[in-house]
Symmetry: none
Subunit: 221 residues, 4 copies
């Protein structure tokens, strides 16, 4: 007998609860140890279930990976929706989005949500994910551009900036520990701070200190 959390639901609900549990647990492991370093046996063991059982809920391992990506992107979408509800300057919106995104990723639902493994996806899935991911990144780019237009952010290569953000975020599962020194919210706050402060005009970051020798000046991006 497996050790799912039993709750009284219709069988369809149970089905999808279990399916979600599989995907979440797998995603957690995938993000921490990598897709290929995680066997379905590992996942099954974590769920105290036999490997065969997993196949009652998912078609195959690639589907799990696909769903994980979708989940991560769903979280992204939620972050964007959240931002839309809290309008402001481009910088403010971007900040809100990034913060929310990171916070959710560190939260219970999401800790498992970030994946770097794209090549293992089925080609058709890969395309879908790529499309969404591109859209996701484009939305960030648009926010940056908005910020530059409304003067709340200085000019930088927006694509490069987004790649930088994504990299920093994608790396999180490898070091973030929910039980660790910093809570998810704090991580979200500080990472947002680190990533955005340099780009936001409004706050003349610090007193008038001469620019570094490397010509790294705000607005010089």
């Amino acid at each position: 007998m497996p050790r799912w959390k039993n709750e009284s639901k219709t069988s369809d609900e149970i089905q999808s609860i279990k399916r979600a549990a599989v995907i979440k647990q797998a995603g957690l492991a995938f993000s921490k140890r990598g897709y290929h370093n995680t066997s379905l046996d590992d996942v099954a063991k974590m769920l105290q279930v036999s490997k065969g059982t997993l196949y009652n809920y998912v078609k195959d391992k690639q589907e799990i990976l696909f769903e994980c990506h979708e989940m991560a992107l769903d979280i992204g979408d939620r972050a964007f929706r959240f931002a839309k509800d809290h309008p402001g300057t481009g910088a403010e919106v971007l900040e809100a989005t990034l913060y929310k995104y990171i916070e959710m990723l560190t939260g219970e639902l999401g800790a498992c949500g970030v994946l770097m493994e794209v090549d293992a996806l089925r080609p058709e899935d890969r395309e879908k994910i790529a499309k969404r991911r591109n859209a996701f990144e484009k939305s960030f780019v648009a926010m940056l551009q908005e910020g530059m237009k409304d003067g709340s952010m200085r000019a930088v290569d927006p694509k490069l900036a987004v790649f930088t953000f994504m990299g920093a975020i994608n790396w999180m599962p490898r070091w973030f520990d929910p039980e660790g020194r910093l809570s998810g919210s704090e991580v979200a706050r500080q990472m947002t701070d680190i990533l955005l402060t340099g780009l936001v005009t409004a706050k003349p970051p610090v007193h008038a200190k001469p620019a570094s020798r490397f010509g790294l000046k705000a607005g010089a991006g």
Copy 2:
């Protein structure tokens, strides 16, 4: 007949050139597609060589991975040495290091140099790499702390900041294209800018400032 680049060298030199070619090509593939998504057959095909041939130059796939990690860390060391030769405030030194590191990673030698796959290493190798990587990150942390002490940087959680840097950098191989719109140096300059500007105190961010010694021109982003 394989298609190695032929150059007239002593046989020992040729050996090590070929070995390096194997490692570099493999590393490139590993960083772009992932260690487990790259079979040695793939690598062999890229080198227009049969799979067995690879074994003339490396012991096994894990050794290749190990060497790739070492190469990446060597590059890190070189960045640190470079920084040591160019003293300044904490912020300046950190900036120099980051810039150099990223630039080298995008350069011919290093494009393949960033890897996230640690779990597939042999345990003893994993330990070595972990040790070096920790030292590497600690050096960054130390630079940050130095900067905070000397007032050239504002207070942030230094560990978190370094994780942020590392993530941004580790993600590069997935999007950086040596033939692309931005050269390695430009990427280095802009990423350094994005990552550090927010942390450096005292930039009246902008005015026109003369180019830094690193060819990094203000406003050129």
Copy 3:
């Protein structure tokens, strides 16, 4: 569906029955054709099972080899225990042991039990096996010496004698046929006879028979 002998047992019992079957079948093949001439595909085919299935029961091919050695040595131990229960002169004890050992090796359990392949063992296993085998041979040597001391055996180089015994026995799997002309017990009886008769005193070995032309003097061992 595989063709294991089905018997109604608990699943754990079945597991270990199957494991034993794998080891026995493999051991049989190993002793008859050699370890390296027997692929796991061969073994699987004999068991009418696919190769992968074997890995449900054993860790790898080396483990099989190891278990085969252990089995053979276990048989040796049982022979020694048997002998201990039937005391007598050194010669009698040795005779009992050899007889029992050979008989068991030819029996159902043991036919597969004699192996010469030691180099293919994992180093740590090799050491274990070597230790046991040495102890095993030393016990034989001790029996011989006991016999010489109590006068029931004539003096020969005991080590050489034991090597001779071991060689004769180790060669058995190459020619012994359970369905053949001689039963295992008969083989045991006759080999023991051939090997020991010459060493047992009681037969005033030579009388005045002149030493052989080759300097081979009775009793001169």
Copy 4:
């Protein structure tokens, strides 16, 4: 440059000298460590020659094995010829043959001469070797029968006896050390003693000694 022993010979002679060296060295290694545990690289290294060079002298590894078997059987033939030149009772002739055979096998030429690996031979070679080996064993059997007929040996199953001899002899390469405590001749003498003393009459094998508990009666073979 290889390190063959150079001697001034015609090129054909040199060829066959080198060929013999290859076979002998390989045979030595094969007997000690086993055919499959010995790579041609190993053999080449022992001869201080590159692997490719071996192929100037032999067609392939299987041919080497074949030649080793032939060599061992040649030695057997020489032992038989030697025996023919020294007539006597069946027991005496057998003793002479065994002694000579063992002695030669331990000698420089022959230490490598005993091989148990038959399955790795090419089928056609295997047949040839099997034929010769059978003839060889039959000659031994004939000697035994001769001895029984002329009363110089007691009755035992002659096939079984020969298998016993062969096993004891085939095992030698695994323990015999030319530099060891016992010389080849001594080993030959003592093994012959151990193996034959019990079979030679002259020693009224039995007296009224009660049969052992195991039904092992002298002369009952």
